[in-house]
């Protein structure tokens, strides 16, 4: 090595220059709760079970989504629609329970493609947020079904 190389001072100055350049660089941080990262149009986020135009659940509990799911995150039990429940469920057969385990789900969107009734969708604006307990990651119908538009049930 030459003398100037062995002094290391030019190299140190160079390193300091690099860090100084980064000091004034635009920061990569996004202040999450206030700002959110711009997502892709085809982003696959939290699932939703859609209702039809009359507010009845579209899902008919055929189980195709559960079959299509590579992570086996979806379970459901089917039930028969009773008289007087036509405004609640569109088809004669409906899902009594419908659970998605968000810890298993890989958000691949295959359930969305498998659904013949266009009932399940992965929203592009919602995430499955972090929680403290594992149980809380099993989303039932209460959290999956789209809220009614007329009556604001939470």
């Amino acid at each position: 090595m030459t003398l100037s190389e062995r002094m290391y001072l030019p190299a140190i100055a160079q390193g300091l220059g690099i860090t100084l350049k980064h000091f004034f660089k635009k920061k990569a941080t996004i202040n999450y709760p206030e700002e959110t990262r711009q997502r892709s149009d085809v982003w696959r986020g939290l699932h939703v079970l859609k209702r039809d135009e009359n507010g009845a659940e579209r899902c008919t509990a055929c189980g195709l989504c559960a079959v299509a799911c590579p992570a086996e995150a979806i379970t459901m039990t089917a039930g028969e629609r009773k008289k007087g429940e036509e405004h609640l469920y569109r088809e004669e057969k409906y899902a009594v329970t419908y659970e998605i385990n968000m810890l298993r789900c890989i958000f691949c969107g295959l359930c969305e493609e498998a659904c013949p009734k266009a009932a399940i969708f992965l929203q592009d604006d919602k995430l499955a947020p972090a929680r403290y307990e594992r149980d809380e990651f099993i989303y039932g119908k209460d959290r999956l079904v789209e809220p009614l538009k007329t009556t604001e049930t939470k």
Binding site: I12, G15, L16, I18, T19, H22, F23, K27, N31
Partner: protein, 352 residues
């Protein structure tokens, strides 16, 4: 008259103490901010506007944490260690001239706590005692990592004190005085010592990094090898004291370097500014106040430099550290003394 001066000195010392504590507190904040900025992050920004209350939150956390003393530790010395570190750090800013004189009425107030004629030796003595805080704390913890950290701190401080002292001698040869006030006064305007002592300054700077245990020489607390070094067993505010002492030391060393090499409170064209005022008292006071601001600007620049280096350079290996101190810096410092002596002789030969 005397009592006025006495009260003034008391207030001034309290003010300097408060300022060093404040700067040390906010150094933690700026350390985190600068680290974040260098790494393209934003750093703490939740507590208060821009995260400015973060140090208070940290201090509150440290105060309320559990005070833990290991069962086999030497309890008295365990408590004494951080106390010594903090005391020594807070003592050393007493002889630093933060400004020239303020004239109020007919009294002139020196902006220096105690003007002893051995100012720089005082700082040296006090700083050399700082290592006791680390050693006693590290030994009393009864922990092998702590002990290793303490031993590293001790040998590192002693080794680099030599090179630091030798590089200092060249400055003292130029100034002919040990008083920091006199050294500051000699560097009026832009006549700073750095122009005469670039090599000496470089040696002093490197030694300052080693003396304050800062990266790239932070081997006493290198977390990869020694967990936390000498403060492995410390918790709560006792740990806070060690960290605080480190930041106060950085502040003091920055102030010393500004005073010795960068003209303390002097700034270019200060005489022109002083003469621009018709009233000499007003001119003096304006120059003094700007001088204080300039002094603190220099100190902050050095503190920034310390942090900038910390987030740029990786840590040295221990044998490299010792080799740098003993084989390179000390011979260079002696060479610097010879060069300075030769320069002074030549200057006197050609001017007289």
């Amino acid at each position: 008259m005397d009592s006025v001066l006495l009260i003034y000195k008391g207030i001034y010392i309290l003010a300097i103490f408060g300022i060093s504590l404040l700067i040390a507190t906010y150094s933690t904040y700026f350390e985190r901010k600068i680290a974040a900025f260098i790494q393209d992050r934003v750093g703490p920004n939740r507590a208060g506007p821009m995260g400015l209350l973060q140090p208070l939150a940290d201090a509150g956390k440290l105060f309320f944490k559990e005070e833990f003393i290991p069962a086999k530790a030497n309890k008295g010395l365990f408590i004494l260690g951080p106390g010594i570190a903090m005391l020594v750090a807070a003592m050393s800013s007493a002889v630093i001239p933060f400004g020239d004189t303020l004239i109020i009425g007919e009294t002139s107030f020196d902006l220096i706590a105690i003007d002893v004629n051995i100012g720089i030796l005082y700082i040296f003595g006090v700083v050399s005692l700082g290592v006791y805080g680390l050693m006693i704390g590290g030994w009393a913890s009864n922990n092998k990592f702590s002990l290793l950290g303490a031993i590293r701190a001790a040998s590192q401080n002693i080794s680099y004190e030599l090179a630091m002292g030798l590089s200092l001698i060249a400055v003292l040869m130029l100034s002919g005085s040990l008083s920091l006030k006199v050294i500051a006064e000699q560097q009026t305007g832009f006549n700073w010592n750095i122009w005469y002592q670039p090599l000496g300054f470089l040696i002093f700077l490197i030694c300052a990094f080693a003396e304050t245990n800062r990266t790239p020489f932070d081997l006493p607390e290198s977390e990869a090898e020694l967990i936390g070094g000498y403060h492995t067993e410390y918790s709560s505010m006792k740990l806070g004291m060690y960290l605080f002492a480190e930041y106060i030391n950085i502040f003091v060393v920055s102030a010393v370097m500004s005073t010795l090499y960068f003209g303390a409170y002097n700034f270019p064209f200060m005489e022109n500014l002083r003469n621009a005022f018709d009233d000499p008292v007003l001119g003096n006071n304006v120059v003094t106040i700007i001088g204080v601001a300039v002094m603190f600007a220099k100190i902050f620049a050095f503190i920034f430099f310390f942090m900038w280096v910390r987030w740029t350079l990786p840590r040295f290996r221990y044998d490299q550290l010792m080799k740098l101190g003993w084989n390179i810096l000390i011979p260079l410092a002696i060479l610097n003394i010879l060069l300075t002596g030769g320069g002074i002789l030549l200057y006197e030969h050609f001017t007289k």
